[in-house]
Structures are given as C-alpha cells and as structure tokens.
C-alpha cells in the first residue's frame, strides 16, 4: 500500500500532463506540437540508429572530456590560489570578471583562436565550466576552520598530505556545489558550440531539423537533450552522495543533537 502510494506520487502528475497533451493535440492538428505517439515514433526512428553513433556520442564525449578537464583544472588552480593569500588578492578581480562574463560570448573568440574543430568545442566547454569550480574551490579552501589548520600544523602535517587529508575533504562540499553548476553550463555550451559552427553533433542536427521545418524531429532532439540533462543530474547526485557521505552523516548527527 505504501509503495503503491509513492508510485502514485511519482507518476501521477506526469501521467496527467501526458494525458492532457494527448487530448489537446488529438483533436486539431497543430503544426508546432506533435502528438505523443507521433513524437515517440519519430524519436525511435531518428535517434535509435546511426545518429546515436554519429551525432549523440561525439557530443557526449566532448561534454564529458570538457567537464572533467574543467573540474581537474579548476580544483588544481583553485587549491594553488586558495592556499596563498597574496595570490588570492591578486587574482580576485580578474576572476570575478571572467565569472561575470556570459560563457557563450567566448564561442566566437575561441572559434577565431583555436579554429573550428573538436578542440574548440572542448575549449568552449572548459572556458565556461572552470569558473564555478575554480571559484568554489577558492572559497572552500579559504573558509577552512582555522583550528583545523593549526592542528595540522602542530602535528607536522604539511605539503601533499595536508592537501589530501585536510584541505580537500573540508573544501569538498563547496567544490561539489561548484561542480553541480558546471554541469548545466557544460551542457548548454556543448549545444551552443555545435549550433554555431559544426557539421555534426546534437546542436547542429536540431538546428538542421528546425530550419527544414521537421517539427517532430526537432522535438525529439529536444527530448534527447532533456534526457542527457536528467541523466547528468542523476549521475551527479549519485557521485555527490558517495563523495559527501561522511558530510551528510555529520549533518544528520548535528541536526539530531
């Protein structure tokens, strides 16, 4: 009974919306909105074949490479800057500016500097994704409990060991907040870099469909992007739960007290 109820909560609204969509589109044929059945059919036809390998896979690989590179670079640079007060003061205004810069405007710049190729698309993703990770790492390192710092110092923990066992763990919750932001920016930039200058990839294909007024195909492309977004957010939540298990445990104990 209990599981039945939670399934009802989980699926209730989606089913109602789906039914509403079905009824609204089945009467009068609207050019812009396909019926659910039509969309499902087009989706399978369009994406469950060659396109999965030629368009979806390269896009996803570029996204993953770009985001991972941005995370590694962001954490590395963030540690270097965050642990040094002078570096922090030196770089703060410049970094703030780059964070405020809307990432898509860098696409034309990188098109000029790198040329139109896979490298440029990955560079675009890195250039947008690195800022939330970098700045959150700096913040995380900066706001470490001073008592912890003193403790590691008096125990003679320094260098790599200090970073590995004290600095990184206590900065992780903040860093993960940055990673979460960087994922959605990465997905947006993946699509944009392909819409701009490309002859393959998801973004390119969807724009192609729109220009040729292939409306159901265009919608199915939007669905693919949505599914990638949802998948990313689930993967992130899973990783976050693993990485921050100790942290959530700690919070629970604190809240219980």
């Amino acid at each position: 009974m209990k599981t039945l109820k939670s399934i009802g909560y989980l699926l209730g609204l989606p089913l109602i919306l789906l039914a509403w969509w079905w009824i609204a589109t089945s009467g009068a044929a609207n050019f812009f909105v396909p019926t659910p059945a039509q969309l499902a059919e087009t989706f399978v036809e369009t994406w469950m074949g060659e396109r999965l390998v030629t368009d979806v896979l390269p896009s996803v690989i570029r996204l993953v490479v770009g985001v991972l590179a941005a995370i590694v670079l962001g954490i590395g640079l963030g540690l270097a800057v965050g642990l040094n007060r002078t570096m922090r003061a030196l770089t703060e205004p410049v970094f703030e500016f780059f964070r405020a810069l809307p990432p898509p405007v860098l696409v034309p710049v990188l098109m000029l500097l790198v040329g139109i190729n896979d490298g440029m698309k990955i560079a675009v993703i890195i250039s947008g994704c690195i800022w939330p990770v970098l700045l959150n790492t700096i913040e995380g390192v900066r706001s470490i409990d001073p008592v912890q710092n003193e403790t590691s110092r008096s125990y003679g923990i320094s260098g790599f060991n200090r970073i590995r066992y004290q600095v990184l763990p206590s900065a992780t919750p903040t860093i993960m907040a940055g990673v979460r932001q960087c994922l959605s920016i990465g997905l947006i930039l993946m699509v944009i870099s392909e819409m701009f200058a490309s002859s393959s990839g998801l973004g390119f294909t969807i724009v192609q469909f729109q220009r040729s007024f292939a409306v159901p195909e265009m919608w199915s492309g939007i669905v693919v992007l949505g599914l990638i977004g949802v998948a990313l957010s689930f993967i992130f939540q899973w990783c976050e739960r693993r990485v921050l298990r100790w942290y959530h445990g700690l919070k629970e104990v604190e809240n219980a007290v």
């Binding site: 003061a89 809307p102 729109q210 949505g226």
Partner: protein
C-alpha cells in the same frame, strides 16, 4: 540550501579577516588586473598569438571607449537589458506564486516533485529551435529562454525557503487565529525571503547569459547580436570590446543584486551580523 549556509559563513569570515588589510588587498587586486592587461598586450605584440585574432589590450580598450560614445551601442545595451528585466520579472513572479502554492501544501510538494526534478535539468538552449519557430528574431524568443531558465532557479529556492518555516512559529500563528493570508504574509514570507533573494541573485546572472545567448544564436537585437555582426564583419577589436562590455554588465548585475539583497534583508541576522562586527 547548503549554498545559503555557506555564503553566510563565507560572508562572516570575510568581514572578520579582511577589514584591517583592506588597502593592501585592493592594491593587490589592481596589480592583478594590470598584470592581466599587460600579458594580453604582450601576447600579440610578441607574436605568440596572431594579432589578427587577438588584438592587444590597448586596441580593444580604445574600441570600447569609442563604443561608449555611440548611440547604437547603447541601443544594443538597452535591448539586452529590456529582455533581461522583463524575463527575470516574469520568472520571479511565476516562481514565487507557484512556489508558495506548492511549498505550503505537503500533498502538492510530493505530487509535483518528480515532474520538477525531471523538467529542471533540461537545458534551456534546447528550446532555441522552438523559440525560433514560434517567434523568430524577436524579443519573445529571448524571453522564452530566460523565463524557462530563471523559473527553476527561483522556484527551487522558494520551495527550500517554505520548507524551512519554523513549525512552532506556524503553530503559534495558527493558535492566535491568523488567517491563511496572514500566515503567508507574516510567517512564511519572512522565512522564505533570504532564500528568494538568493534565487533572484542567481537568476539575474542566468538571465543575462540567456539574453546574450539568444541574441548570439537567434539574432534577436542586443549585444550578442552585435558581437556576431562584429565577428562576421571582421571588426575583431570591436568584437572583443563588446565582449568586455557584456562582462562589465555581468559584474554590474552582480554588484547591484548584492546591494539590493543586503538592503532587503537588513533586518535578517545574517546581514545584521555582517554590518556590525
């Protein structure tokens, strides 16, 4: 929710540690900016990067200064900011009303949870083709993207905020015979306000990103469109100048939202604590 807590901690920290060393910090920051500009100036001059693709900083800054005197530039800024303001306002009002409705009813919260979690990660740029089909190169296209993206930012914050309402306060209000509307106004709203302000601050920068994106890709009027035009016209220094201008716009929006947030929440402990150390 963690975001707010962290920011408060960080904010308090900042007030405590940086106040006595404010001058050297500002000077260091200025030096950082000068080093950055110097490196930018030297890269093309020394031939490390092709000057055709990356003009030296002095040239770009001159182009920016020239832009500031042009009416066309300010019209573009006006177009971008109009889309930004309208989109943000609609998104905030929608999210606030729906967030209060959903957040205050445990049934609705559970009922809508799966749908919200599913729709939220869908990237707003996925809607670009749809916007083009429906509205073409007009401001409505930008608005569609801006509203979609900002709506979720604010809605999630409002939901967290409503969930944070103190049970005892709510029970007290009920036993004092507060009407439903009074409870919303005097109990729920003040608790939710800090969350709402964080949501609006995040949404304000997201709105700028999408306004510029829509202009870049769809060609609706504004700074983004000017950037595309400058690039395809080969006015590379002009393109960099416009990009700098969007960056400054972003910084300005950040600063203004911070100030507004501080003003609106001047009664709130997190801000009060910062003001009087």
């Amino acid at each position: 929710m963690t975001q707010i807590a962290e920011e408060q901690v960080v904010g308090g920290h900042k007030a405590a540690t940086t106040r006595p060393r404010q001058t050297p910090k500002a000077v260091l920051g200025l030096i950082g900016v000068l080093v950055f500009l110097g490196a930018w100036e030297l890269l093309p001059v020394l031939g490390i990067v092709n000057a055709k693709y990356l003009p030296p900083a002095s040239e770009v800054l001159a182009a920016l200064a020239l832009d500031l005197g042009l009416t066309a530039f300010w019209v573009a800024v006006g177009d971008t900011m109009t889309a930004w303001a309208i989109g943000l306002a609609i998104a905030v009002v929608l999210a606030l009303v729906l967030g209060l409705l959903i957040g205050m009813s445990p049934f609705l919260r559970r009922f809508t949870n799966s749908t919200i979690e599913f729709l939220r990660p869908i990237p707003s740029v996925a809607l670009i083709p749809l916007a083009v089909l429906l509205f073409g190169m007009k401001i409505e296209s930008s608005l569609l993207l801006i509203i979609y993206a900002c709506f979720w930012q604010v809605l999630i914050q409002v939901l967290y905020g409503v969930a944070d309402v103190d049970n005892v306060a709510m029970q007290t209000a009920r036993s004092y015979g507060f009407s439903h509307w009074q409870r919303v106004r005097d109990v729920v709203f003040p608790t939710m306000l800090p969350y709402l302000m964080t949501g609006i601050r995040l949404a304000a920068s997201v709105a700028l990103i999408l306004a510029i994106t829509a202009e870049l890709l769809i060609g609706s009027p504004g700074l983004g469109n000017e950037i595309t035009l400058a690039q395809s016209g080969g006015a590379i220094a002009g393109m960099y100048a416009l990009i700098l201008a969007t960056g400054f716009l972003g910084v300005l929006i950040n600063v203004v939202t911070r100030v507004v947030e501080k003003r609106v929440l001047s009664w709130h402990p997190s801000v009060r604590g910062e003001a009087t150390p």
